[in-house]
């Protein structure tokens, strides 16, 4: 077995009196897609925010690609090779679609000069299906297209680990299938992905492995099928009556 690209050990974070993440330990292998699932408020987004240094953890170690990343500023984490999308889509308003992606390209791990970066941006926009709209202001795009821009911006950085925070949420059934196909096409590139998702259909078809969080603790781990039929997981989602 290869060494994991990401190692998280005993990670904890408390907000006021609330334990958002509680002694969480997990790893992500190179090229693996890990599903991070659990009810609302179970700490999934908090984990992503700690991994990308949006805020520090209270305790625990995070090693990425062999380096300790706790204490790094967010921009260094991105340059080290972790890129993310946001739960609520956050395009860089007032800028063109191409410039949105260009930012990721020249400042991310790729760190390419502007001229070659522009070419790469075209390719990425084609990949996410926005080829013809490079020069449009990003504000003019629909919600789903802004999500595509965000994905392209994250991919532009040439990350080794991609964090998708409910990237498939809010899509209609057709868009969802297109989205799943798009994410699946990324898996072929050797990219490790952490997928925070509520859409179980997407989790089943994309994830190699899942961990389930409740109140910041991991209550189950395994293949999507095994985890989703686990009695404790059902109880966490649906309460005692549902199990």
């Amino acid at each position: 077995m290869s060494t994991p690209i990401l190692n998280v050990t005993d990670l904890s974070k408390t907000f006021g009196g609330l334990k958002a993440v509680d002694a969480l330990t997990f790893a992500v292998e190179q090229g693996e897609t890990l599903g991070l699932i659990g009810p609302n408020g179970s700490g999934k987004t908090t984990v992503l925010n700690i991994l990308t240094a949006a805020f520090p953890s209270d305790a625990g170690r995070v090693t990425f690609d062999g380096n300790e990343i706790a204490g790094m500023p967010a921009y260094r984490v991105c340059r080290a090779g972790i890129a993310r999308t946001f739960q609520l889509v956050r395009p860089l308003k007032g800028m063109s679609v191409a410039d949105n992606v260009l930012v990721g390209r020249i400042y991310g791990a790729a760190a390419e000069p502007i001229a070659p970066a522009r070419k790469k941006v075209r390719e990425l926009l084609d990949l996410v299906g926005l080829g013809g709209r490079a020069e449009m202001p990003v504000d003019a795009l629909t919600y789903i297209d802004q999500k595509r821009v965000e994905l392209a911006r994250a991919l532009a950085a040439d990350p080794k680990l991609l964090l998708l925070d409910e990237w498939l949420a809010g899509l209609n059934p057709t868009e969802l299938e297109a989205g799943i196909t798009l994410v699946r096409s990324l898996k072929g590139r050797g990219l490790a992905i952490i997928l925070v998702e509520h859409v179980m259909h997407a989790v089943r078809s994309l994830c190699d492995r899942c961990i389930v969080l409740t109140a910041g603790r991991c209550i189950a781990e395994g293949s999507p099928e095994a985890v989703l039929t686990n009695a404790e997981v059902k109880r966490a989602y649906l309460g005692d009556d549902g199990a």
Partner: protein, 319 residues
């Protein structure tokens, strides 16, 4: 960088008309002092001062949306350094010292304030001008035993004009390269969403600090070059908070986000405020405030923004 310069040269070769136009404009600008009287020249000096300050302001505040009201603090700093050091240093040395001082002060101010967000940053920069003014006043009264300073540099209006012209040209070159560079992209990204900028790999603090300090150098130098217009300065003249607001309004009126925006705002604003301050001196600041609100609510893109929208509509008429 070299590749970018080559690209710019290549581009300018394709637009000979623009290049010739700029050349003619430059020749006219250089020859100007020979053909006008002192009153007109003094108006142009004033204009160049505001063009440099409003453009510098736009390069940082217009892009990042960190609205600074510290313009007058840096202007005053430059003016006072000239008053204090003018008789001891050769002029080129003086200019270097003033520029460096502006840079260092901006670094210190930036390090302590650029972590503040939005309105807190604005309030701090507003307070900064007052703070510096009080410190200078205290120093003059308690240590030097006077309320103002004489400026011992003799400069004609034409000298000031040429110096300001050079400063303006340097600023435009710096601004042009800056906005086209990766830094320009970072500035706009920070203005759009600082969190996203951070998570996209931009050293947000470094970019903000560097550009804030760089643009403050131009504001400080403006104060230094303009100072000899007055043979005597005191803190209320040098650290005039209203000037910070005027610079901000000029930039907004012309249109931020574009290098040529501020210059479009400076001329009408100067003419109007010249008229208003002589006609209604007591209501000037109220009218300034009203003008500010009118611009923000009705033409947030400034004059250039209005023109661009108009052109876009004409070029692509809706069916």
């Amino acid at each position: 960088m070299r590749a970018e310069l080559a690209a710019i040269l290549e581009e300018s070769r394709k637009k000979p008309a623009l290049l010739i136009g700029l050349g003619v404009l430059l020749a006219l600008a250089i020859a100007m002092p020979f053909s006008v009287n002192n009153y007109v020249l003094s108006f142009f000096n004033n204009m160049l001062g505001f063009v440099v300050m409003a453009t510098s302001w736009m390069l940082f505040s217009g892009t990042t949306k960190y609205i600074s009201l510290a313009t007058a603090a840096f202007f005053g700093l430059g003016a006072y350094l000239v008053a204090g050091l003018g008789e001891f240093l050769l002029y080129p040395v003086l200019i270097v010292v003033v520029g460096l001082s502006g840079f260092l002060v901006a670094l210190v101010v930036g390090l302590s304030t650029l972590r503040l967000s939005g309105v807190y940053f604005t309030i701090f920069t507003f307070g900064l001008t007052e703070l510096v003014r009080q410190i200078v006043t205290w120093y003059q009264v308690k240590v030097l035993g006077s309320v103002g300073s004489y400026i011992f540099i003799e400069s004609t209006a034409a000298d000031i004009y040429w110096r300001m012209l050079i400063l303006a040209i340097v600023l435009y070159c710096v601004g042009f390269l800056l906005l086209r560079s990766r830094i320009g992209l970072a500035l706009n990204a920070i203005g759009a969403d600082e969190t996203v900028a951070k998570h996209s790999g931009i050293n947000v603090m470094g970019v903000k600090l560097g550009v804030f300090a760089l643009t403050s150098v131009f504001m400080t130098l403006t104060g230094a070059i303009m100072a000899p217009r007055w043979t005597y300065i005191d803190p209320p003249i040098a650290f005039n908070v209203i000037a910070s607001f005027e610079v901000l309004i000029m930039a907004l009126l012309g249109g931020v986000g574009r290098l040529w925006g501020p210059i479009v705002g400076v001329v009408p604003m100067l003419l109007v405020s010249e008229y208003l301050s002589t006609r209604f001196p007591n209501y000037f600041t109220i009218l300034l405030g009203l003008a500010f609100m009118a611009i923000v609510y009705h033409i947030p893109g400034g004059i250039l923004g209005v023109i661009e929208t108009y052109w876009r509509k004409r070029r692509a008429p809706r069916p």
